[in-house]
């Protein structure tokens, strides 16, 4: 437990950790509950113009001619621009990173020039006085196209029959191989080798708020203020500055309320870059909000992997080696600036991660296709790595006739084996797999569920129990992006200011996307300074206001931003006590801060309310000693350094019932035990896990972006693309083991992606456990009723 290890107050006082570890409701949720949030589309600006985009109807086609003449005459139209016109204001980009060796991608423009490479790529921009007028004009643009051969299937892409970008010679964006050298020996000496192929459907984030941007260029000062639904304001400030050629100091990015992100809103989108360029071109504010149909065509997609995996083990259950071959389909471009190579890279890094085998071989190809681009979405690569690890582990346990929980227990890395280096090279500071497994089995009543399952099978009721152990990348150091040349900050900063009234203002570079960042920063700041939480106001999401930092991604907000807030809070507390000592003419060491007042450290007797201290410091500094200057604004930064990533671990379980006649899966219950280090706010952490689990369930059962052979997206709307809704979702039970990271004083690791990382594997294993008496097995996500019935039918045919 981290509680005793976190001396937020000086030793000898009677105080606990303040608000750390308490389920405090988020102060910033109140405005959202009254419909008084400030999402981009809620903002009102004078002379605001609206952008809409003419998008390619073809997956791959040459743009022979674009005729704007009729469209330009429509009411309200301000201007229509093609790719060349926008390129005069916005330079193209190439999404590669130096540490992803060999990754390649062609230059990409904000608006396509000469050629469209996926259905939905923006090929012209219309700006009008209203969105509906802009859309009307889009419908009147006349285009002539020359259709080009399309690459839709990833196996065909790898073969290279048709090469999408001739200058790149082939369709391989990124490949990676890893081999510990002893794999062949491990497989030849094994008692059992199991092999399977897993397929992961292409899906997307489906944030309820579409991508949104309002760019306001001020020609008078050559400045650009961008109101942006983004997770990384400073990254975007840098990008707008460099690609629009505006000095960085003149670019301000403001992220107010953001309606869901999950990694969708951390990338550079061509239509958003175009919107910023249009504001510069037209010297007035321009807004673009992606509607639902545009979202499906242009928000990043993710996953779409085909992975062959083999596992070698002994009769005792000891795993000797994993061997995998991953193929994943990108779009026609690697996505800027994080690249589209990371997900496959993570599959190679993480597969087999919870287990203690020493031999590992992996091969991965990420290939271009003429479908929408793919990039990092919540849990990046983890759902793939966890599902294929846990899927093949279950198959091995089944072949050995061993209980899957027992099989895992024999192979999980021991809790006292840390620090530990995994065969792929990743390093674990301290994990708690066995504690988590024990806690999970106890929490779910595993043995009773197994007995109930056996009993129900006799009545031809097919229930399944699926387990999924996992590791997760959190709190990334510069090793994630910075070392590869990306100008993405791995450090974050917090400024704390004591106001004259005794209030504390916190300004932090990590953003709020609804996960509760501002709430936990208030908790940490209040605890560190010694004030009550209602005295704290938190400001995030404004490059003009907060310290410089990375923002929200890779489960880093609490662990990195939270530590910066803690350090700044402690420094502010020390500075406040300096002022108090000078005012009261007492030794600083005799004083402390409790409940908004400076107190005698030993007796806890109030010596001076902070409001009085603020009054003196700001309005009557003449009463302080002449040589004394109060410093009631402090800034601190934090970067994780000792480990490239602060790994967390956890384990999930799913209980399902499969109807063999209809193929329907009923989710009965879901459990998650997670070790994310110090838990700042148990309620918010559990809600992150639950929401993440449900997104993972979406991937397992419902969500897939389906493409036809011509590269047309077949189900790009919210009626045909199924997302999890309330009636089908189970209750989700959460529990925690707390192993604080020693790299920071707060001890928090990340948690935002854990649910999504493990849920697909747990659900898949539960379905296959349910199907086992029928001899059926499914490995192609999402597990639609059709696919399950097909699996049962194939088993019958074999029998």
């Amino acid at each position: 437990m981290g509680k005793a290890e976190l001396p937020l107050h000086a030793p000898g006082t009677q105080l606990d950790r303040g608000y750390i570890g308490q389920s405090v409701p988020r102060p910033n949720a109140q405005r959202l509950l009254q419909g008084r949030g400030a999402f981009i589309d809620d903002l009102r600006f004078p002379r605001l113009a609206h952008a809409a985009f003419f998008r390619s109807p073809y997956a791959h086609a040459r743009i022979k001619k674009l005729d704007f003449s009729i469209a330009l005459k429509q009411p309200g139209v301000i201007g229509i621009f093609d790719g060349r016109a926008v390129a005069e204001y916005c330079t193209p980009w190439v999404a590669v990173l130096a540490h992803l060796k060999g990754i390649k991608s062609p230059p990409q423009h904000a608006i396509a020039i000469e050629r469209a490479c996926w259905q939905g790529e923006a090929c012209a921009a219309v700006v009008a006085e209203s969105r509906s007028q802009a859309e009307d004009a889009v419908g009147l643009i006349e285009a002539e196209w020359e259709e080009l051969p399309v690459v839709v299937d990833m196996e065909a892409s790898l073969r290279g029959d048709v090469v999408i970008h001739e200058e790149l010679k082939d369709n391989v964006c990124f490949r990676r191989e890893l081999d510990t050298e002893g794999v062949a020996g491990a497989f030849s000496g094994a008692d059992l080798v199991v092999e399977d192929t897993f397929h992961f459907g292409r899906h997307t984030g489906a944030c309820l708020e579409g991508r949104a941007i309002l760019a306001d260029y001020n020609a008078g000062e050559h400045s650009l203020t961008v109101y942006h639904a983004t997770q990384a304001p400073h990254m975007m400030q840098d990008i707008f500055s460099r690609h629009l050629n505006i000095p960085e100091a003149n670019v301000r990015v403001i992220a107010k309320d953001v309606g869901g992100s999950f990694g969708i809103k951390v990338h550079v989108y061509p239509d958003e870059m175009a919107t910023a360029a249009l504001s510069v071109m037209l010297r007035r504010p321009v807004k673009f909000v992606a509607d639902r149909l545009e979202s499906f065509l242009s928000d990043i997609h993710c996953r779409e992997h085909r992975v062959r995996v083999r596992l070698a083990c002994m009769k005792s259950g000891e795993i000797l080696a994993f061997d995998l071959d991953d193929l994943t389909a990108l779009g026609p471009y690697s996505v800027y600036p994080r690249t589209s190579g990371i997900e496959g890279n993570q599959v190679v890094n993480l597969t087999g991660g919870p287990y203690k085998h020493r031999e590992y071989r992996a091969r991965m190809h990420a290939v271009f296709t003429n479908k929408n681009v793919t990039c990092q979405y919540r849990a990046v690569g983890h759902p793939i790595a966890v599902a294929l690890t846990e899927g093949i582990v279950d198959l091995a346990a089944q072949k050995l006739g061993m209980d899957p929980a027992e099989f895992r227990r024999r192979n999980l890395i021991a809790d006292d084996a840390y620090p530990y280096t995994f065969p792929s090279g990743i390093k674990f500071e301290k994990l708690s797999h066995h504690q988590c497994l024990d806690k999970l089995l106890d929490l779910m009543g595993y043995q009773k569920l197994r007995q109930e399952q056996d009993r129900l099978r006799r009545d031809r009721i097919y229930r399944g129990i699926g387990l999924a152990a996992m590791i997760e990348v959190t709190n990334p150091s510069p090793a994630f992006y910075g070392v590869g040349g990306a100008r993405i900050s791995a450090q974050d900063g917090a400024t704390l200011r004591l106001e004259p009234t005794g209030m504390v203002t916190v300004m932090c570079s990590v953003t709020e996307q609804g996960q509760g960042t501002e709430g936990i920063f208030a908790q940490i700041a209040a605890s560190a300074v010694g004030v009550s939480i209602e005295k704290v106001r938190v400001i995030t999401g404004d490059t003009g206001v907060t310290p410089y930092g990375g923002g929200t991604w890779a489960s880093r907000g609490a662990g990195i931003g939270g530590e910066a807030v803690l350090q700044a809070g402690r420094a502010l507390r020390a500075n406040i006590l300096e002022v108090a000592a000078a005012t009261l003419k007492l030794e600083r060491g005799l004083l402390d801060i409790v409940d908004n007042s400076v107190v005698d450290r030993l007796t806890l007797e109030t010596r001076m309310p902070l409001a009085e201290l603020g009054r003196v410091a700001y309005f009557r500094p003449d009463t302080l000693p002449p040589e004394f200057q109060s410093e009631l604004t402090v800034t601190r930064h934090y970067t994780p350094r000792q480990y490239a990533f602060t790994f967390t671990n956890g384990i999930q379980a799913s209980l399902v019932e499969v109807d063999p006649d209809t193929g329907f899966v009923k989710l009965l219950k879901h459990w998650c035990v997670e070790d994310s280090g110090t838990v700042v706010n148990p309620m918010l952490v559990d809600e992150q896990i639950r929401g993440g689990v449900v997104q993972g369930i979406g991937a397992a059962l419902y969500e897939e972006c389906l493409y036809g052979p011509d590269g047309q997206l077949l189900n790009g709307n919210l009626a045909d693309y199924l997302v999890p809704m309330a009636p089908e979702m189970p209750d989700i039970v959460c529990a925690h083991v707390e192993t604080p990271t020693r790299q920071s004083q707060l001890g928090a690791k990340g948690v935002g992606e854990a649910g999504t990382a493990g849920a697909p594997a747990a659900v898949m294993n539960a379905i296959n456990d349910a199907l086992a008496p029928l001899g059926a097995r499914v490995t192609r996500m999402p597990f639609t009723p059709e696919r399950i019935l097909d699996g049962i039918a194939r088993a019958r045919t074999r029998a």
């Binding site: 999402f39 589309d41 309820l208 993440g692 009636p727």
Partner: protein
């Protein structure tokens, strides 16, 4: 030219008269003409429920109804029901249980939940889940929302 019609309706208790385009959706009218931006637009094809409003006492999709169809109607939005305190118990329970994250679905979710409270005040957990089956939330996983609605119902019962 676009066809326009005159309408008069009551929005959150106040009489409003405007000339509106025949094709304008009710939620666009509320957001663009009246500045009532609490009702959100999530899909514009009637699936997500973010634009759920109350028209003459019944909840509707603001993206599936035209503004001209609301002529003569009484329209209530999240802003009105917040100010009147009608939603206060639900808002309190949602806040305390963190039954919202990004908050984009929340106004529509509250409108749907309040409708259930009015019409089926003794609904069970499964009925609650069914009643909000037309309101998409990508953040929470729904459990806290169901918990919050159940708590308000239980308090009433």
């Amino acid at each position: 030219m676009e066809q326009a019609l005159d309408i008069t309706l009551t929005v959150n208790g106040t009489a409003v008269s405007r000339r509106v385009a025949a094709r304008q959706h009710l939620v666009d009218f509320l957001r663009e003409e009246l500045g009532l931006t609490g009702s959100h637009i999530g899909c514009e094809h009637g699936v997500c429920g973010a634009c759920t409003l109350r028209v003459d006492g019944e909840i509707v999709r603001g993206c599936l109804m035209l503004a001209v169809q609301a002529n003569g109607c009484r329209v209530d939005t999240i802003e009105g029901l917040s100010d009147s305190k009608e939603l206060a118990p639900l808002q309190k329970a949602f806040h305390e249980r963190n039954a919202l994250q990004c908050g984009f679905c929340t106004p529509g979710m509250l409108m749907a939940a309040q409708d259930l409270l009015k019409h089926h005040p003794k609904a069970g957990r499964e009925e609650i889940r069914l009643h909000i089956s037309g309101n998409y939330c990508r953040c929470t996983g729904y459990q806290a929302i169901v918990d919050a609605i159940e708590e308000v119902m239980h308090g009433k019962g």
